[in-house]
């Protein structure tokens, strides 16, 4: 009797361990159903969720037979989703398509052979003609394109409170020619009694401001050269930018390290600051505060970056080993189609990557952005993953964050050089 009991206990113990291994068997069933597409995003709330819903509605119209499975992971501005995605890719259980920032942020996935080359998809769909040539160039890695952008944002926009500037006798409609001219205006604004003329937020918004200064000084070509090693990080242009960036920090609110971008933009909306450099998602914050473009606030390309479009984009990929590859391509077709881009971007407040979109469909600010996107030189944003691989941009982010506390210019340049050496090998 006693022996039997211990035998049963033993079997139970072994069984407990085995159940841990058996749960992975269910996936084959899913794969057998061809008419499904599982799309992984971090669009789970706000305007992003509205945009995704609009896009899936369009997808249902174009491909009514395919069931859309929303695998959105919320939280942490995508960091939770990226961690979840990394473990799925590691376990060879990829979704059919996943969201990623277009550009260099994909390079880790490319190096690990986790995403497929979509160049032939581009030619089949005529996307190589529909997207601006500059954008195609930014998306191409070693002659191949790995993702399809769904929307474009601009990162070199300065948001201006017209009232505050007028009070100080500055013409808000006329953008200063370069950063030095802007610094003069900032001083004027400060002397007129505006305590913090420039609104700034947490680490990545500092990085975005710094990147704007770099573009202003180095120009499109010089700035793009930073990412392939043709522009040196200890060159005079970078050093000058660091110096100007340091002066800009002097005009910023002292509590910047703790503010998210919307809190920083709010300072401009409230009229406590004159300027804020932010991506064009800030447009939503101004319209929500029921301000009108052109009267209460206005925008220009950050001084010195006129004629350059600092882009970032969300995009969709085709992972290696996607269980429903044909359906995934259908999804990418909808994402890149004129109707799909219109549905998504109208809801999210961004602009389409296609140049054949009709500006009349979009609100005032987006029309100006679409015009520049068509005409300007496109460069990749650092703060939003388009310019540099993740590891490199987190190194820069930390160096810029450190500079925010000690404002030691030499150590920032040293850290930037070290980060570039590490990344470019």
């Amino acid at each position: 009797m006693r022996k039997r009991l211990s035998l049963i206990a033993g079997i139970a113990a072994v069984g407990l361990v085995l159940t841990g291994c058996s749960s992975s068997g269910g996936d084959d069933e899913k794969a057998s159903d061809k008419n499904q597409v599982e799309v992984f995003t971090w669009w789970a709330s706000g305007s992003e969720k509205v945009g995704l819903d609009a896009l899936t509605a369009e997808f249902a119209k174009q491909f009514p037979d395919i069931e859309f499975i929303n695998a959105a992971v919320a939280g942490g501005a995508g960091s939770n989703a990226k961690a979840a995605l990394a473990s799925r890719l590691e376990a060879d259980n990829p979704p059919d398509s996943f969201q990623a920032h277009a550009g260099a942020e994909l390079s880790d996935y490319i190096a690990a052979d986790q995403v497929q080359d979509l160049s032939s998809f581009y030619t089949d769909q005529g996307l190589d003609k529909a997207f601006p040539a500059d954008l195609i160039e930014r998306l191409t890695v070693d002659g191949k394109i790995y993702s399809v952008p769904s929307n474009i944002h601009r990162a070199n926009v300065t948001w201006v409170n017209t009232e505050v500037l007028k009070k100080a006798g500055i013409d808000p409609e006329k953008a200063p020619a370069d950063i030095d001219a802007w610094l003069v205006d900032l001083k004027k604004l400060k002397d007129s009694g505006v305590e913090t003329p420039l609104a700034l937020g947490t680490e990545w918004t500092q990085m975005q401001l710094f990147e704007n200064v770099l573009i202003a000084n180095l120009g499109a070509e010089g700035y793009s050269g930073l990412w392939d090693g043709t522009t040196k990080w200890d060159s005079d242009g970078v050093k000058k930018s660091v110096d100007q960036y340091s002066q800009l920090l002097g005009y910023a609110n002292s509590d910047f390290a703790g503010l998210d971008w919307d809190a920083a933009t709010q300072i401009v909306i409230d009229g406590n600051a004159g300027y804020n450099v932010m991506g064009d998602w800030a447009e939503a914050a101004f319209t929500q505060a029921s301000q009108t473009y052109g009267t209460e606030y206005t925008t220009w390309a950050t001084p010195g970056t006129e004629g350059i479009f600092d882009f970032l984009a969300d995009s969709f990929t085709l992972p290696v080993g996607a269980p429903h590859e044909t359906a995934a391509k259908d999804w990418l077709t909808t994402v890149s189609s004129a109707e799909g881009q219109k549905a998504f971007n109208l809801a999210k407040g961004s602009i389409p990557a296609r140049t054949d979109a009709d500006p009349a469909d979009y609100p005032a600010y987006q029309q100006t952005a679409m015009k520049s996107f068509k005409e300007d030189t496109v460069v990749s944003s650092l703060a939003h993953g388009a310019a540099a691989p993740v590891a490199w941009s987190t190194d820069i982010s930390s160096a810029v964050g450190k500079f925010g506390t000690d404002t030691n210019q030499d150590s920032l340049v040293t850290a930037l050089v070290a980060a570039a050496d590490k990344a470019l090998g």
Partner: protein, 296 residues
Amino acid sequence: MRKGIKNWGPPLLLIAPTIIILGIFVYGLIAANIQVSTTNRHSLTPATEFVGIDNYIQLLTEDRFLHSLLNLAVFTVVFIAGTMIFGFIWAWMLDKGVNAEGIFRSVYLFPMAISFVASGVVWRWLLNSAEGDRASGLNRIFESMGLGALQNSWWNEPVWGMAAIAMPAIWQLSGYIMALFLAGFRGIPEELREAARMDGASEWKLYRYVVFPQLSPVALSALIIVSHMSLKVFDLIMSITKSIYQTEVPATYMWVTLTSNDYAKSATIATILLVLASVLIIPYLIYTNRSEKETR
């Protein structure tokens, strides 16, 4: 005494699930983690070679990591000192006897019921570093009480900023330390105090020479508990400041490297954290083991 499998078999079977699960999910994963930390797996691509302790050398000579260790040290010292001092004083006051002791006990213990994330969100606002017109949180309170001079930038201070982050942690954990000390006070037999009083000891001497010495095991446990909590601090910092350079500690740095796919580096940081925690906990385990054997 029966010998053989009949004797040790059934107990072993009963604890077998625990041993197997701990073996896989704790010790197995620690081993896997250490293994990753000795490779060059700095991206999503699989590791290609064994690099020994290179990752450790690189990390320990890196300014950024040393800065995170310094932050952790400041946080730990302030956090431990704060919880121990407040916890002890509250326990002492309650032990001296007050009306409505139960109410005070609950009031002091309540903050512990809140998670670090939830209190972090509130303290993020309380510790807002804006001053003057745009001040909010504590700075606003100081301002409206006419104590404007007390306004400061809290965690925005370069070196001592971490002390401000320790404030919410002290607020949450002091009550727990108080409960530990109070249990210690109550564990001392009344006879000892009476005997001391009979011998003419003053109240202060009674505490100094009779009560406090008996509290040292409690104090040691409390110290170990709060110090290992402080080594792990992550959620509080993430919810107050997010992961930024200024308030970076090894645990948040580990998260940053993990999310930027530098697996080897993040495994290295994890291992160093484990070693730091072991340095504290292993001597404590040895000590309690020994003293338990003695009392048996």
